[in-house]
């Protein structure tokens, strides 16, 4: 075999090993968004910008995800405490619209247990 045959063979093996390491290495659980409503528990990736409609007895609470940050955009409750709670970014932080039975939490990051069944 010629010199660059060996170079490309080694490169190939390194690429294979690298992809194996990337695929199998234990990582921290990626951050996820959990939304609990009367309709059930919903989970979404935090790294995708999206609008989540959480439906409760009063109507729809709009949860806005952008740039890995979450806040309540619109809610049908009277006191709007959930809007005033601002923006959350880290595992364990949460927002809630109690009148509309909506609970929003960021999970993951450091092997956190998932949300327990919510009771309102």
């Amino acid at each position: 075999m010629k010199p660059f045959d060996i170079v490309f063979l080694l490169l190939s093996l390194v690429l294979t090993a690298g992809s194996a390491w990337a695929a199998l290495a234990p990582t921290n659980a990626p951050l996820r968004l959990e939304v609990q409503t009367d309709g059930g528990l919903y989970t979404y990736p935090l790294d995708t910008d999206q609008e989540i409609k959480a439906v409760g007895p009063l109507g729809t609470t709009l949860v806005h995800v952008e740039g890995r940050a979450v806040h309540v955009e619109v809610s049908p409750c009277a006191n709007k405490v959930c809007l005033a709670m601002g923006t959350i970014r880290q595992g364990g932080q949460w927002l809630a619209c109690l009148p509309n039975h909506v609970f929003v939490r960021i999970s993951g990051g450091s092997a956190e247990a998932s949300i327990d069944a919510g009771v309102f």
């Binding site: 010199p3 660059f4 045959d5 199998l24």
Partner: protein, 180 residues
């Protein structure tokens, strides 16, 4: 004379077409070598490897096109995602192989190295596209398998091409005929 080079190029087109046919033919010989399902050995690349040192760049591109579209028509997969994956892989493989062929001095690399380079490029592109279009981001776990098997097949195809290059009398006569 300006007209004669165009005539020469025209006269070589049938040879390009024959290599295209070889590519399709070799692909059907893959059954002679046992491989796991989902994985293709890539014997269709052998004629391209062989043609690298005596086809011009436009001829190689034409050969690539014949190989890729030809496989799509012959296998009936032209309108499916398989075509998108295999054509992207073939293109990536060709670009890398040709660049390696042109940039690395002849005595420093053989068809084995070129085949390995091409195989790496092709499998990386195909795994990437599969993750984006078909299986989703969680399928990164298939990458080491494909890249590992690709390394083995790259070695095998390269060795096969080198063997043909050294021992095929037909190939030798073709090259002689083209240079006269």
């Amino acid at each position: 004379m300006p007209g004669s080079s165009k005539k020469m190029a025209q006269a070589r087109l049938p040879l390009v077409a024959f290599f295209g046919a070889l590519s399709l033919f070799f692909a059907t010989l893959e059954y002679l070598f046992p491989t796991p399902p989902w994985f293709r050995l890539g014997l269709a690349n052998l004629p391209i490897l062989l043609a690298l040192d005596f086809f011009t760049f436009p001829e190689l591109l034409l050969l690539l096109l014949l190989k890729v579209i030809g496989q799509g028509i012959v296998n009936g997969t032209l309108a499916s995602q398989a075509f998108l994956l295999s054509s992207s892989g073939s293109l990536a493989s060709f670009v890398v192989m040709y660049m390696a062929f042109r940039l690395i001095p002849r005595g420093w690399i053989s068809l084995i190295g070129l085949s390995l380079a091409g195989s790496m490029a092709s499998n990386t592109v195909q795994v990437g596209l599969s993750m984006v279009l078909i299986f989703g981001p969680a399928s990164g776990i298939i990458a080491p398998w494909f890249l590992g098997l690709g390394t083995l097949s790259g070695l095998g195809i390269g060795w096969g091409a080198e063997t043909l290059k050294r021992h095929s009398r037909w190939l030798r006569r073709v090259k002689l005929g083209q240079s006269s």
